[in-house]
């Protein structure tokens, strides 16, 4: 009888331990960023006929694009970036076009949707304010082409936008990435989505504010204390 009581006690302790482990995991079920481990990235375009592998250092990639709600906090704290204050050299006339006014979106714009109609200058200023930065083209392409994102369900379906990169028009600026002959200089001529992205980026100017262009941030990885590690599928 005593033994049975002991067993029940152990069972209860085991159950509590199990549920604690579960709740600990549950509290970590909404990660905001992931560490992309460094590695070699094969750019879309060859470098003087060579594949031109580039090494990308480890970095943290935000899982979500910056939302209207987050951007509102930024413009509240930085009046020079409000819709009516932004200088045209930093953001064209379509800056925050869908927002009703400086500090209101209006009913057609959701808090949790990615902010669009923001320029490269604005995206950079937001990133600095948030203690982060914009990804480079190499970082973005490396992370997404390798499908390093652990759980795609984490990424909202509304996030179907092009994204700013820090060096958006620095890649391959001498060869045309837009013309028909561009295929001959590509490492993977069948990667049409990448062609679309490169061609899109190549035609941007830094003060453009477009309906289908938003951004996400990255940050440098100099700390090693991340909690959950997920293997590539």
């Amino acid at each position: 009888m005593k033994l049975r009581s002991l067993n029940i006690a152990i069972l209860i302790i085991a159950l509590i331990a199990g549920s604690l482990a579960q709740s600990k995991s549950a509290s970590k079920s909404h990660p905001t960023k992931i560490l992309i481990s460094g590695g070699y990235y094969l750019p879309l375009f060859k470098d003087n006929g060579e594949p031109g592998k580039e090494y990308v250092k480890s970095f943290y990639l935000d899982l979500y694009m910056v939302t209207n709600g987050e951007y509102l906090k930024f413009v509240k704290a930085n009046p020079q970036w409000r819709k009516s204050n932004a200088k045209r050299i930093f953001a064209d006339q379509n800056y925050l076009k869908k927002w009703k006014s400086d500090l209101e979106y209006g009913k057609d714009v959701n808090d949790s949707d990615p902010v669009c109609n923001v320029s490269w200058f604005a995206a950079n200023a937001y990133s600095r304010w948030a203690g982060k930065r914009l990804p480079t083209v190499a970082e973005w392409e490396y992370a997404f082409s390798k499908k390093l994102i652990p759980n795609e369900k984490n990424i909202s379906p509304n996030q179907n936008l092009y994204e700013w990169a820090f060096d958006f028009n620095e890649t391959n600026f001498q060869a045309s990435s837009v013309c028909g002959g561009a295929g001959s200089s590509a490492n993977d001529p069948k990667n049409y989505e990448a062609f679309l992205r490169f061609s899109f980026r190549d035609n941007l100017k830094a003060n453009y504010c477009l309906d289908d262009l938003g951004f996400r941030c990255v940050s440098d990885s100099n700390k090693k204390n991340s909690e959950i590690i997920i293997s590539e599928k």
Binding site: I8, Q22, P31, W129, F173
Partner: protein, 225 residues
């Protein structure tokens, strides 16, 4: 004894189950060779935006320059003597500006030479209404001291010339503003545009010339639009 065994078996099974569960939650690295790429997920816990605010936004509300002036940039630069300056310091003069790096083996010396041709085409008494600015795109190698050395080698008259060193971000912003493109190669050198930009007294782009080794006539033409 029988009672003991009956109790012990489920506890053991449960304990194994819990251990397995926790192990899964932390990820399984049993097969490292096939998983050279892996990602770490960090918990949602960062809200450090407040303290970072002062580091942001060098773009201030400035009423004194027009909306399309590059003097809207409030970035701080170091000149060849190590002084900290803003670009708007050059306001009031017509500015001839190029982005270069001093260890450039090819294009940049030619760009500087083209700018010197321009300088020598301006009558001496008018020279004080112009300023020549070289902005380095190589923050790693072009310190103010290196810029000063370069100015000496090229015999630049520092009355009329200023050489600037800045951060990667400030260089990128200025480059985007004037449409200058550059990319660092694996060798540490850059592929870049060859661009001379003329700014009016208010910092608005008045004219640009793309290309190398231009004739004096063509260069003077960009000055006088």
């Amino acid at each position: 004894m029988k009672n003991y065994l009956i109790g012990f078996v489920p506890v053991t099974l449960l304990t194994i189950a819990v251990i397995t569960y926790v192990d899964k939650g932390n990820g399984n690295f049993g097969d490292e060779k096939n998983k050279t790429q892996f990602v770490q997920v960090e918990n949602a816990s960062e809200n450090n935006t407040q303290k970072k605010q002062d580091a942001c936004c060098k773009v201030e509300m400035a009423g004194e320059h027009s909306d399309n002036s590059i003097y809207q940039l409030k970035s701080m630069w170091k000149d060849q003597d190590g002084n900290t300056i803003k670009l708007k310091k050059f306001g009031g003069k017509k500015v001839v500006l190029a982005m270069i790096y001093t260890s450039c083996p090819t294009a940049c010396p030619v760009i500087v030479n083209d700018m010197q041709k321009l300088e020598s085409s301006i009558p001496e008494k008018e020279l004080s209404s112009y300023h020549f600015v070289l902005v380095s795109i190589d923050p790693q190698r072009d310190s103010p001291a290196q810029l000063k050395k370069f100015a000496g080698e090229k015999k630049l008259d520092l009355q009329n010339w200023t050489l600037l060193a800045g951060t990667q971000m400030d260089i990128a912003e200025l480059a985007q503003m004037i449409g200058f493109r550059y990319k660092k190669n694996a060798s540490g050198n850059f592929t870049h545009s060859s661009l001379i930009t003329i700014l009016d007294k208010d910092g608005i782009i008045e004219n640009q010339s793309e290309g190398l080794n231009q004739s004096a006539e063509k260069l003077i033409a960009i000055l006088n639009k």
